[in-house]
Amino acid sequence: MNRLYGPLDPAPDAGYQDPPARMGFFTDTSICIGCKACEVACKEWNGVPGHELTMLGMSFDNTGALTANSWRHVAFVEQPVPAGRQTPAFAGTPTGPTIAPAAAADAVTTTTDTGTEPGLDPGRHPDSAARMAAGPEFLGMPASELPGRQPGREERTDLRWLMMSDVCKHCTHAACLDVCPTGALFRTEFGTVVVQEDICNGCGYCIPACPYGVIDQRKTDGRAWKCTLCYDRIGDGMTPACAQACPTQSIQFGPLDELRERAARRVERLHAAGETTARLYGHDPEDGVGGDGAFFLLLDEPEVYGLPPDPVVTTRDLPDMWKRAGVAALAMAAAVAVAFLGRPA
């Protein structure tokens, strides 16, 4: 029976008998070089439109967020924190206070016209952006005056430059799909979540439903667009465009079970090597979305990368609501069915 919460294999649950293994992405940010090949390969394969040319000042990120016109997004976070190096990057140089919090605070106020709704929302508060950029140890407020003129701040000695390719999580319990009234969003036999462009009518219900803020509409046609995990490619046994292009295999594609095992081993190895901040995100079937089909190895708190720390499927309480609404819905469906069946051929 269909469930909206807890561990689950989504494809059989969505009516597929003997489906192929659930497929997904494991994005290992510890080896991401921030090249953005994933962004481009995705756009080339899926014919995703471009956006306006604006420099955002978010380190090397000029895409800003996942939108209907960017289905992969590489985030860059500069942090003046130890990066596990034997000798810190700037040890012995005449460095002053860090700029990272102030630059990050500036950057969240920049935006570009992505041609989508809600598109690139400045969203995060400058204070929180500043906090993320300075890493877990940051305590102060972002700079309100020019760097170097603030007294009492410790000099930076090390630098960590985090890079992470974000993507739709293809949740086990996908609220976008649950709320879609037209059946445009559907679960594929691979357990992925796909918007069907021939069905979507642009109602936009899915947008607030997504706990990750992934779903977005194109202004040109009003429809919702997002990562399909290259449904057309994987159906032919191919690798999604982003994973195929990724130079360092930071983006790995495969059966989700295998990926989860690989990821667990990778975390162990990193911990053994002293990268104690390495942790997985979205891998746990017990989490608020039943685990993600696209999960990540992160080197810091999820918020630092712009990810919600504890996402919960927004339709978690839907069954309760259905007890009241379900009968009416079924009656409506039956009436519609009868109306269709009654038509002359």
């Binding site: 921030g34 500069e78 020019l146």
Partner: protein
Amino acid sequence: MAEAHPVGFQWVMEAKERGAKVIHVDPRFTRTSALADLYVPIRAGTDIAFLGGIVRHILENELDFREYVVAYTNAATIVSEEFRDTEDLDGLFSGYDPTTGTYNPESWQYAGQEHDGVRFDTSTERETAGGLQHESHGHPVQGRPERDETLRHPRCVYQILKRHYARYTPEMVERTCGIPADKFEEVARAWTENSGRERTSALIYSVGWTQHTVGVQYIRTGAIIQLLLGNMGRPGGGILALRGHASIQGSTDVPTLFNLLPGYLPMPLVKHTTFTEWVESIRHPEQKGFWNNARAYSASLLKAYWGDAARPDNDFCYDYLPRMTGDHGTYRQVLDMIDGKVKGYFLLGQNPAVGSAHGKLQRLGMANLDWLVVRDLFMIESATFWKNSPEIETGEIVPEECRTEVFFLPAASHVEKEGTFTQTQRLLQWREKALDPPGDCRSELWFFYHLGRVIRQKLAGSTLSRDRAILDLAWDYPTHGRDDEPSAEAVLFEINGYEVATRRPLSAFTQLRDDGSTVGGCWIYCGVYADGVNQAARRKPGREQSWVAPEWGWSWPANRRILYNRASADPEGRPWSERKAYTRWDPDKGEWTGPDVPDFEKTKPPSYRPPADATGVEALSGIDPFIMQGDGKGWLYVPSGLIDGPMPTHYEPAESPVRNPLHGQQANPTRRTYRRPANPTNPSPPEPHSDVFPYVFSVSRLTEHHTAGGMSRTVKYLAELQPEMFVEVSPELAAERGLVHLDYAHVVTSRAAIEARVLVTDRLTPLWVEDRVIHQIWLPYHWGGEGLATGDSANDLFGITLDPNVLIQESKVGTCDIRPGRRPVGKALLDYVADYRRRAGLTGDHRTPILTTDAVEREKP
């Protein structure tokens, strides 16, 4: 490497996963630094001081791989007693001539060879980029130089090196490069501990090393370290040049360079009046190695050019070759354009208005031609200088007064033609054609074949002697298809070479002959069409063959993947260690064997010692792995062949805010300069006014863009990733100059002022240099006025000053000022830059001093 060669970087990441330590030395923290185990910020332009410190660390602590060094390098060779070091002469080597600004290198020779009749003319060699001609071989070495294999002789190379680098202490590195001594020592330890029998270290560089007035010597210093540590010719070792364009290696091998013919055969000088004189200047009759057969390579090339007309009795039409008399390089040409000496200019997939140093001079040169042909995929800045350049705004170019006739011819893309690229590891890969090009788009093959055909038609019947060369040219390639495209395979076949009588393709350059019986368009590529098969088109999947993957494409020479791999075995031919086994001598079979093609005569045993009178290949002993060198040895010390000295020594860049901490001689005393008012050099100490341009700047690439932007600012998915020109500054410099994140700033030199958005980032750091804080700023150089993403060009900031060996410009370091806000526009911009020049004293008959030491005077008796 992660920035500019991301896919190549997968192998670094894989090595790191297996335990390799990755060290990144760069003026700025890049995407490569982010993944490195150790990041070392360095003051731009001080790499020889840094690397020299490593050499000292090796020699002082005797950490060299002694058995390798003694057997395979010239460490034991005794140098002339006439030689004087920069340590003796305040930064000059012996033999400096202040009137020409070049050296007489007679005193640099091995002992006993100082006056052996080989004439040195480094002034001409500098003019003609002589160093580049020796890319695959050294200068001649006569006879058998004296050696002391105990390395104790005070004039042996080992001891000379040790003295030369004795002052490159960790403290000196710190003072010069801004690298803290303990951090430097961490690098030195890691490098030496990871080298030897069981381990090898690789050194990777790119144009961050070549684009300097001492660029060749940077790479030489790297070579000294890698030879001392035994990292050459061995798996996991070597010096890897990461080249930046799909076939830039190919375009030096099969060159479109003024001083080279295919296969690094030099273009003749005017003094080479006969074929034999020219050939003897290449092969040096008494020398060891494969260059001894240069007569066969040269005759076969002329035979490829002039076919039946090229015969032994007419010296294979040698008289048809144009002769060099001096510097005919691209920067000389641009100045000659401004002076009205050049009538016409072809730009073939090249955008010098953005990509070359001193963009203004590039554009003014184009504006003073009779005609310009631009062949490109997109409408680039170099095609539109007459209507859309910065000089239109300033009034320096007025369309109604600019007579240059411009032809823009659209080019075929890489998928619309077939042919080979040679990638960065000398590997030729054949591209299949996917479809015909659109509209008027054509390949260069098409354009030049048909241009030659039309010119030959127009000149047919001419009786002028100068037209014989064009009329006798072998120019009959088969054509096919809709556009009469010439056959690229037929051209590759000619490059490979064949036997004239049978048209049978040759399989190795050893088959080339000097009697006119063979054709060979590029001797080092001989074998690419072995057995009549296009070897470059081989595509056996990597997973189906050994890790060396010898059946994917074809690499020159002879499909060898690691050069000089004889050195991967010890003098007896055994691997130095099983862990690093590669090429080895198989005594049972009596041949060299391994996963690669051995870079040695296959059946010459390690025990072979040549007869006393042997020359050429025969003179190479069984323990001479560096088979293209005149003595078969790796050169720690270069007795001749380099313009600026036998050993690298630290010189400051042509523009520096710092007085040279090591020598009175500030900058490379042999650098190539062009003195004219439009090409000033910012003052450096000991000149006054260097404080007008107090900051160091460097430029390089972003992952998201390609060179001058013609193939990336025009592509929407790339343009949006890095949409605007920007400048990276440290928080400390931002505070000092009042620069605000994301606001505009402008950068000023004595040539130009350009504007950019400010990116204040912790990735840049000031450095302590000589007890001063030195700020460095960084700019990407991809922008120009055309395409989707537009902005000012960083290369406009540079002047033209060149490395003396290869005539490559110093465009990785300069001095500048940076100010908040946008630059002035129109004529006000010219006034603004002129005011900086005035304040810097760069007016009237100002001359930048080349010699900044009185050592020459002192040397005189």
